[in-house]
Symmetry: D2
Subunit: 273 residues, 4 copies
């Protein structure tokens, strides 16, 4: 039974419009098809229909983490489920993982990470901009994962506080400047991830990953295409999101392979950032 504070998705069959709503006694949800009182929804169940004051039906659906991160209050580009779903698998997240990210932005990725690490896991999220940490906190609160995330409002020019992190993700404009810091914070043999929108950034990131001896470097992009759902006219949608960003992954080696040109020197230790 739905209670005050629950997060629901109101979905209209008329237009496919939908609203992500946190049930608040006394509140009203508007739409171009009419209004719905939260008090009328409280006490109903997921899957039921609420009608607007104009008689239009909305289905009460359980929101998904993917939809939530697409709809959060934001001041930055949000992460898309196509990307975050791949990230959590390639960074090998799971219940109990400890993960570190920079920067927080609107907190979408931190919410996904917190969702999947569970109550025994922990997310540490850095951002130097106070307003982003606050916004992300509020978004994490709303999704119910605030207690799993530690927000740190500072830059990482002097590195991360963490060591032996299970995974580390950089969502910053200049990730190449922090590959050393990431190397220091990450557990050996574990994965670093990055998201960058341009090819020029890929180029710089690849050079930095090589400098710090990261291995199993992968660069990829994901494209998602929706289809129209009329069974008599199945076809791709007319337009699609053509680009969100390129994903870069690499694994931390504990020791660099000996330089090819070297003679009889010992294998160097990896730089510590």
């Amino acid at each position: 039974m739905l209670s005050p504070g629950d997060l629901i998705l109101l979905w209209s069959p008329a237009k496919g419009d939908s609203f992500l709503v946190r049930l608040t006694p006394g509140s009203t949800q508007g739409s171009h098809l009419g209004q719905m009182k939260h008090d009328d929804i409280i006490g109903m169940e997921f899957g039921e229909i609420i009608s607007t004051n104009k008689g239009s039906p909305f289905f009460i659906l359980r929101p998904t983490v993917g939809e939530y991160t697409r709809r959060i209050k934001r001041q930055t580009q949000v992460i898309f489920p196509k990307d975050s779903g791949f990230i959590i698998q390639h960074l090998n997240f799971g219940p109990g993982s400890t993960v570190v990210e920079c920067g927080t932005g609107s907190g979408g990725l931190a919410c996904v990470f917190a969702h999947f690490v569970g109550d025994n896991g922990r997310v540490v999220s850095y951002d130097r901009r106070e307003e982003f940490s606050r916004l992300a906190e509020s978004n994490a609160e709303r999704w119910g994962v605030r207690h799993r995330i530690e927000f740190k409002t500072r830059d990482i020019w002097n590195g991360f506080d963490e060591r032996d992190a299970d995974a580390l993700f950089l969502d910053v404009q200049n990730p190449w400047d922090f590959i050393g810091a990431a190397h220091e914070a990450l557990a050996c043999g574990h994965r670093l991830g990055m998201l960058v929108p341009t090819f020029n950034q890929i180029e710089k990131a690849l050079v930095a990953l090589s400098d710090f001896g990261f291995v199993d470097v992968q660069v990829l992009e994901l494209l998602m295409r929706y289809f129209k759902t009329d069974p008599r006219r199945i076809r791709p949608d007319d337009t699609m999101t053509a680009h969100t960003g390129f994903l870069i992954f690499a694994a931390k080696a504990c020791r660099l392979p000996a330089p090819e040109s070297s003679g009889d020197e010992p294998a160097p230790e990896v730089k510590d950032g």
Copy 2:
């Protein structure tokens, strides 16, 4: 420190070749670059280098759930991380979820689901073919999630045993035949997912979803493109996997909207499969 029974990824910088290995005392891993004794790896750490008897280095990396499901012993098409990552988000899995799937196949998707529901969650996986349940059990055992999965070796023509499942996934050739059974087993307002390779299957599935009053129906496909990682020559790989399958998602409504043609009859109850 790596111990017998641990699962590791051996990754060669020479060719990008890699092997997924479960450490077993007395065993040897072969490669075209030479052999490695498991006993030499036991006691080492992730991130370190093991050399073959011919002197070629392999890095010892922590395997990821995505890689694991790509490399399992299989007799069926496996799920790709690009697809499973989107599925777990749109089906809203997380630590503690109860999810039902049919069919088990080689168990790749069951392993991903079990990885993300954690020890407090539960996966029930149906397949009518005994050999697949056994293969999947063995693959789940190897990934360490066997205890989270209940394998049921029977068909679902008479429905699922479960009710109020958090999510349900159909990975069968004829999902349209089981939309009623899925409706019965799924919690109201929650999500059903399907993967089908052909358009003809999409067509039939969409008709069945409509018959059972499912809402928020989405059909999509994900394309993944890898890039070469030489920073001086960044470009997409020459070839790519162009198709794995189409994903179909829908939410269970508890009550069907009144048929448009109906006069003054009451809204019908949803069929129960």
Copy 3:
């Protein structure tokens, strides 16, 4: 030197806006950056700059056939250069070819065909709707290829007038109904092409092609992605056209292969539509 009646492309560096203009003495071209008098452009050369009355520069460029067909006056979906460029190659058009198409629509494809068959070639374009034949005539006139096209305003339920056409293209909603007519009009061993937006249409077209013994059947789609052109931030555009249509091609066989189940009967003649 540009003369009255010439077709030019006015391209603004400020916004990337552009206009396709036919020079007409006394006319004025408006834009949000100000106005340009055609009389000022007449006498200039391609590649020069004309300034608006507000001082904004527009470059005078030579329009391309691809741009022209994208910008024609239209009442129907136009053909995209990515698709028409592939069509003319797979249908093997060239100077001197005789090609037949149905339906005319806004005439975009007929203009492309007429452009490439040259003055020694011939395009016959059918449409049952008078207003489309007129619109297409006007568009062909503007591009200067009207004399190469014969517009026929009638349906093709009773077939085409032509025989031994070098190539034939069907751009209609129900191409499967006209595969027989196409077979009759096309030269043996030559190519038929179709463009359909949905998968349901592909299904029906493939069945009809098989019934009439067409061979070397190919189904494909083309996706085009534009990139931003700032050399410091090279990246795909945020959105793209995700779908125009699927292309279907097949070659006409003069004789059907003997049915597999047949005993000792002679090979059947191909149906004649």
Copy 4:
């Protein structure tokens, strides 16, 4: 009626295998389904069936320019029809055009260009490597367009011989080094095209285009996906070509816009390479 010297496509329904063959009295075409004598094919018609000595049928089809360029004898990467079809439209080729390209390579693009400019058009193709000019000549001979192409075996460091070309295409590793030469050879307001495989090359080309005042710069890529043609199981092929190259286009301006930082100096003339 097919004669000695004709180019035909032999297409097998059994496997979809096909051969591009120039009919030569006394010759034999082998295949894993048996052999076919050219003398048996001479005198037949396009669209008919020739049987191998083992009784397997091959259809005699008319080859297309797209297929031809994919199958030419080659020592270099060939152009794909998806790309060349877009190029000829964006460069505005047609019967009678004069076009210049560098480098010749195996001659595939020169053959496409020559096919579409017709007997009144002219293609000039530069390559500094004698063996490529010879190979391309032989390929052009076979397609029947040798007389429309002038092969020049020299580098273009000192520029092209031509002026006022209708279009110019650079298919070389370092196109940025020849943007000035291209500017000099091209007619004002007309189009330059390039094909480059890597992003690093796009970056350098964009800078050079800007230096020489080219306008309407466009960067794009084309992806082509084939589908399986069984009407009961319509689906994309499992794999596809993920990358051939990026296309870059730009139009030549006759006069550079005044530099933004300039004070009261006159608008500079464009550099002449």
